[in-house]
């Protein structure tokens, strides 16, 4: 049991060389560690997604570059029409609902293409209509983050407040 047992050699075999380590304090230490970790354990992993509010009432950042040079990317969400991805240059891609749900795969492709065309562009505005479910907005933002658009703005599709 937890001991080193070298084979006795010669005549000094009378005294046992079997040294046993006292495991009790070790078990005490481990028990204390387990108790502490169990008490302080966080079982539900929660995190956050940053969003900046665009449109009415938003405190827009004043450091933005002149808008003429920057292409503005906007993603419209509607519970009936699905996604509509628009660029300020006039280009528009429509992604209709697929089996009654938002087509996140197609959206991912469109956003990845947009990122490829504008690698310096980090911001995108998601404009949702009132009836869009919150869960779908988060899923959309998740796809946008996956497509390397870390600066996501959220606005009402009506265009202000």
């Amino acid at each position: 049991m937890g001991g080193a047992a070298p084979t006795p050699s010669g005549k000094g075999g009378k005294k046992s060389l079997d040294a046993s380590i006292n495991l009790v304090p070790f078990i005490d230490l481990l028990s204390c560690c387990i108790s502490f970790l169990l008490i302080t354990a966080v079982w539900t992993q929660l995190a956050r997604i940053d969003v900046t509010q665009k449109g009415g009432g938003a405190a827009g950042s004043s450091e933005e570059k002149p808008q003429e040079k920057q292409v503005q990317l906007t993603l419209f969400m509607d519970s009936k029409d699905g996604y509509t991805f628009k660029k300020s240059t006039g280009e528009e891609v429509s992604i209709p609902l697929k089996n009654g749900d938002y087509d996140l795969v197609r959206l991912g492709e469109v956003l990845t293409n947009a990122k490829r065309e504008h690698p310096d562009k980090n911001d995108i505005t998601v404009k949702a209509s009132d009836t869009v479910v919150y869960n779908k907005i988060i899923a959309t933002m998740d796809v946008a983050l996956s497509s390397k658009f870390p600066d996501i703005g959220l606005a009402d599709s009506g265009g202000g407040g």
Binding site: L30, A41, V42, A58, Y134
Partner: protein, 196 residues
């Protein structure tokens, strides 16, 4: 003494017969036979220590240094997201179907917010947030006010309610809105982890 066994006590004292000497190397005889097993049960502690070590390693892996910043209400189911950041301490706005709370105290009725109304501002929420902001500035004069607020909304809530809450936050000076999400493991193999 008692060698011959004569007299009154005849029959009680007998002459001893041959005995095993200490020099005889028969352990089973020298131990004394049946019923004299040692009272000490030897517990094998090695497997127990192994188990405890594995438990400690597992718990250390799941240990979160930041602790539990957010306690999710019973009637709120958070959405999942694979791309996320760590939570930071900030006022927490809970949006359930029935009610909207700020740090646990109700500030608006969910059913009222779901109705169409011209004004997006939630007065109670706005006022309390302004108070919180003023308190923060008073208590932390040397620190910059980040204007951060955590919104934990039920995943089936309409955007209309979220929009009103965000609008009130921005009016009160909290422009940095964070949506609380459950961490979801990435399904694909592209790029390790969603942590940013």
């Amino acid at each position: 003494m008692g060698g011959g066994g004569g007299g009154k006590h005849k029959g009680l004292i007998k002459q001893p017969g041959p005995r095993l000497g200490k020099h005889i190397p028969l352990k089973w005889i020298s131990k004394g036979g049946h019923g004299k097993r040692s009272a000490y049960a030897d517990l094998n502690l090695t497997s127990m220590v192994d188990m405890l070590t594995i438990l400690v390693v597992f718990l250390l892996q799941t240990f979160s240094a930041s602790g539990e910043l957010l306690v999710v209400s019973k009637n709120i189911v958070l959405p999942d997201a694979a791309n996320y950041k760590d939570l930071e301490a900030a006022p927490i706005i809970g949006i359930a179907k029935e009610t909207v709370t700020l740090d646990g105290s109700p500030v608006a009725d969910g059913n009222e917010l779901a109705k169409d109304s011209g004004d997006w501002k939630i007065p109670d929420l706005h006022d309390k947030l302004v108070t919180l902001k003023n308190n923060y500035k008073l208590l932390h004069p040397s620190e910059e006010f980040k204007g951060q607020v955590i919104v934990q909304a039920d995943k089936l809530i309409d955007f209309k309610i979220v929009k009103k809450v965000m609008y009130s936050c921005t009016l009160a000076g909290y422009a940095n809105v964070n949506f609380a999400v459950n961490v979801k493991a990435k399904s694909g193999g592209g790029g390790g982890g969603g942590h940013e």
